[in-house]
């Protein structure tokens, strides 16, 4: 599953044009320069990369950190495998 985490971080860095090294698990999305609009593009790219479907309720609004994003995607990948 670390593979999933790494790929999600790659996508976050690529789609949001942010420094990959700044994407520590406890880093807040807002603090590294990732907005909610950026996350719309990120979720699209993640769906494409993993062949999964992310519904609106899957990514709740209280997701604030990089680690919370990767955990949510890990769960979805496991559920939809």
């Amino acid at each position: 599953m670390t593979d999933v985490v790494n790929r999600v971080k790659d996508i976050l860095a690529e789609e949001c044009a942010v420094d990959r090294a700044a994407l520590l698990d406890d880093a807040k999305l807002e603090d590294v320069g990732i907005s909610s609009v950026d996350m719309v593009q990120v979720m699209f790219a993640i769906e494409e990369a993993f062949g999964i479907s992310i519904e609106q309720e899957d990514m709740s609004l209280d997701i604030e950190t990089v680690g919370e994003v990767t955990s949510a995607i890990q769960r979805l990948v496991a559920d939809q495998a």
Partner: protein, 398 residues
């Protein structure tokens, strides 16, 4: 009424990604026409187009902006960046951004259909809506450069650029704004776009030969042209480089036919532009024609020029640069105004290339095939759109 200076130019075209390449290409009679790079091109009967070549938007646009920018907006952003650097100054609140497009985000729409209907995918790009909307260019330009004055798109098919620039001209003249970033952008040489034009039977199977007897139709182009327009006193006060004065604008509609052009509608627009500019037909040295190379446009436009110019039509130089850069639709008028300004600034009139044989129905001097040296003190640039919408701009040397 205030006077309007043109102080910045920017463009992306099939002849190159900047004004210098565009102007040198049009002077040298180069052609931007080639076989389309679309993957399904074998399903098209006419495959020649004037695409913007080797386009890498990342050279001009940051990744986040790119996520929300259709190809036509990318062209507009790149051209606006050039125009702003060229002009060297722009202020926020008293500046407008007015950019025309005929179609909007054609590729975004097609990609969505392709994903869902052909590839069976469940979702389309999450920014499909902001990408496809026609006001993408003015909004993205305003966002990037912090322009907080009026911003909107104008859509009138092939006249979109001239209507945009003419609207900005009027707003500066009346004192509503001081500066405008104005022009047009288009990127609709998509598969369905080409299929639509193919069905209308106005596309040339080989090249575009405006005003030539053996013309077989138009060649679609794409790109963007953006001009920085400015209150003349403001431009002079800041010591700006002034390319030319935007002196007149005329617009009419035919109310006659959705696709057939009209002599009267076009001639009235030309007369209006001259009247606003305070110019007589004999003052005009050059006409950058709409000149699509279709059987219908070219004789009609020639007769309209003759109707508006009278005896002065015999001495005015007329050329269509579309044979070189393609028909840019919503971007056409802005690219052609830049070509016209280039003629004023260099004293070299761009030619009508691919001209092989005179047509008795087209009896003006079309500067066939080779550019001509002539001092140009004033010129007009014509755009006549489907829907019968005519828009003509007049420019004067400084």
């Amino acid at each position: 009424m205030r006077r309007v200076a043109i102080t910045g130019l920017g463009c992306v075209s099939s002849l190159g990604h900047d004004v210098e390449k565009f102007l040198s290409g049009t002077r040298e009679g180069l052609s931007g026409v080639a076989k389309t790079t679309l993957p399904d091109r074998d399903l098209l009967t006419a495959q020649n187009v004037a695409e913007v070549k080797d386009w890498d938007p990342a050279e001009y646009i940051d990744k986040k902006t790119l996520n929300i920018s259709d190809r036509f907006s990318q062209f507009a952003l790149a051209a606006a960046g050039q125009a702003l650097v060229d002009a060297g100054d722009v202020s926020g609140e008293r500046t407008a951004v007015i950019v025309g497009t005929g179609v909007g985000g054609a590729f975004t729409i097609e990609e969505g259909y392709d994903r869902v209907w052909r590839k069976g995918q469940a979702k389309v790009n999450p920014f499909s809506i902001p990408k496809l909307m026609s006001n993408g260019p003015p909004s993205l330009i305003g966002l990037k450069y912090g322009i907080t004055g009026p911003a909107f798109a104008v859509s009138s098919a092939c006249s979109s650029s001239n209507h945009s620039i003419g609207t900005a001209f009027g707003m500066i003249r009346r004192g509503e704004i001081d500066v405008a970033i104005a022009g047009g952008a288009e990127a609709s040489i998509s598969f369905m776009g080409l299929k639509g034009w193919e069905a209308l039977r106005v596309i040339s199977p080989d090249v575009c030969r405006p005003f030539s007897k053996d013309r077989r139709g138009m060649i679609l182009g794409e790109g963007a042209g953006i001009l920085l327009l400015e209150d003349m006193d403001r431009a002079k006060a800041r010591g700006a480089k002034i390319y030319a004065e935007l002196a007149g604008f005329g617009m009419t509609s035919d109310a006659l036919d959705m696709v057939q052009p009209s002599i009267d509608g076009a001639a009235r627009a030309i007369r209006q532009a001259l009247n606003v500019a305070g110019l007589a037909p004999s003052d005009i040295d050059y006409v950058n024609a709409h000149g699509t190379g279709t059987p219908a446009n070219d004789p009609t436009e020639s007769k309209a020029i003759r109707a508006a110019f009278g005896p002065a039509a015999d001495s005015v130089l007329v050329s269509s640069t579309k044979a070189m850069h393609g028909h840019g639709l919503g971007a056409a008028g802005s690219l052609e105004l830049i070509a016209t300004i280039g003629a004023i600034c260099s004293g070299i009139v761009p030619p009508t290339i691919n001209f092989t044989e005179a047509d008795p129905e087209c009896d003006l001097d079309y500067v066939p095939n080779i550019a001509r040296e002539r001092p140009i003190s004033a010129a007009i640039s014509n755009s006549f759109a489907f829907g019968g919408l005519n828009a003509v701009l007049a420019v004067k040397a400084i």
